[in-house]
Symmetry: C2
Subunit: 214 residues, 2 copies
């Protein structure tokens, strides 16, 4: 059964980005440390067209997430960064390059209509009628594969508190950021129930997987 999954790297104190994020420093102060573990893996490098990288549990889990996902849903800020009116910026998609790493359909949540953007291996479709519609379209596109939630935190909170997420995979880096963007916030009083699925420790990070119970 295809699942709607969310892989997210977080600090031990629960931040997915450090303090003072900006267009130049989208992950905030210290935030890039959250992702060091994945950038070092062979699986991540391969999906980004690079050679080398480390094998081991971090790479295996990353490979599994990439292999199992047939579509991605993401927020508009994740797509184009920053707060500004990206619709008027023809380069707003520049940071995904000519060949984005997804190699499957991506559905971007936004308030502004836009024609699909076709890049090599990845088409970005812009969804203006809400999170359920985006998920529905992504499930249809993914077929028997999973749908991955790309982030960021605000979109994840919406899906989580709406009870639409199936699996939460936290990758907890052994560091404190002391401030920044919290993953778990604004969940409201009706938080979903969780079931612990799997915990895998590697030297660089702890992988914690939970099933969301309805």
């Amino acid at each position: 059964m295809a699942r709607f999954t969310f892989d997210i790297s977080t600090s031990l104190d629960g931040f997915v980005a450090g303090p003072d994020p900006s267009l130049e420093d989208p992950l905030g102060k210290g935030g890039e440390q959250l992702h060091e573990w994945v950038l070092a893996t062979r699986a991540w490098r391969e999906s980004h067209g690079r050679e080398g990288g480390e094998d081991g549990p971090d790479s295996e889990l990353t490979a599994r997430s990439i292999r199992d996902a047939g579509a991605t849903v993401m927020g508009r800020r994740m797509f184009s960064g920053g707060e500004g009116p990206w619709e008027s910026d023809p380069n707003a998609d520049a940071w995904w390059g000519d060949e984005p790493p997804f190699h499957h359909p991506v559905f971007v949540l936004t308030h502004h209509e836009r024609e699909p953007l076709v890049k090599k291996g990845t088409t970005f479709t812009f969804v203006t009628d809400g999170i359920e519609s985006a998920l529905e379209q992504a499930r249809a596109a993914a077929g028997e594969k999973n749908v991955a939630l790309g982030g960021g935190a605000s979109v994840a909170q919406q899906y989580l508190s709406a009870g639409l997420l199936d699996e939460l995979r936290l990758h907890v880096a052994p560091l404190l950021l002391g401030g920044g963007t919290r993953l778990f916030e604004n969940l409201g009083p009706d938080v979903p129930h969780l079931e612990q699925v799997e915990v895998i420790e590697s030297p660089a990070v702890t992988h914690m997987t939970y099933r969301v119970v309805r």
Copy 2:
């Protein structure tokens, strides 16, 4: 080398107590779920003079923490609960009973002087000259054993941001509380560095141990 350690149960979203705590419900809404794993262990039950309980990794880790600790430091609210002026309440220590579970010296941080309180196996000493003094007195009392930080969150934040804690042992329960008292807050910009020591998964909880690096 004796360490200053902090064992704390937290929800996956980082709360050590649920929303709306009160004297009747000191752990807030849903907060008692955080401690179910430890209340079920043989080690915890034994230390509280009860029979039975479950063996296994949860009990082994609990037994180790209890065995290795020669003194405890705690905040005033942890000692007597609530916000009120406990000095005028002769029953403020009632909830520790006649034989508190510590069986070693306990140092209580407070702004109000008070004579030591001697109970069976445990003497509570009240410290008014700050967190460093409390730790120093506890280290002297513990000898070659560890000093345990009893909590709560506010005292833990003070010790953590002052760089005085040696080891942080999170016991992460597979649940979201959606609100309440956060463990990691008010740490300031100079957060200490951590080193991942050990991660142990049990069906009920994930035990994550970090060394604080100076």
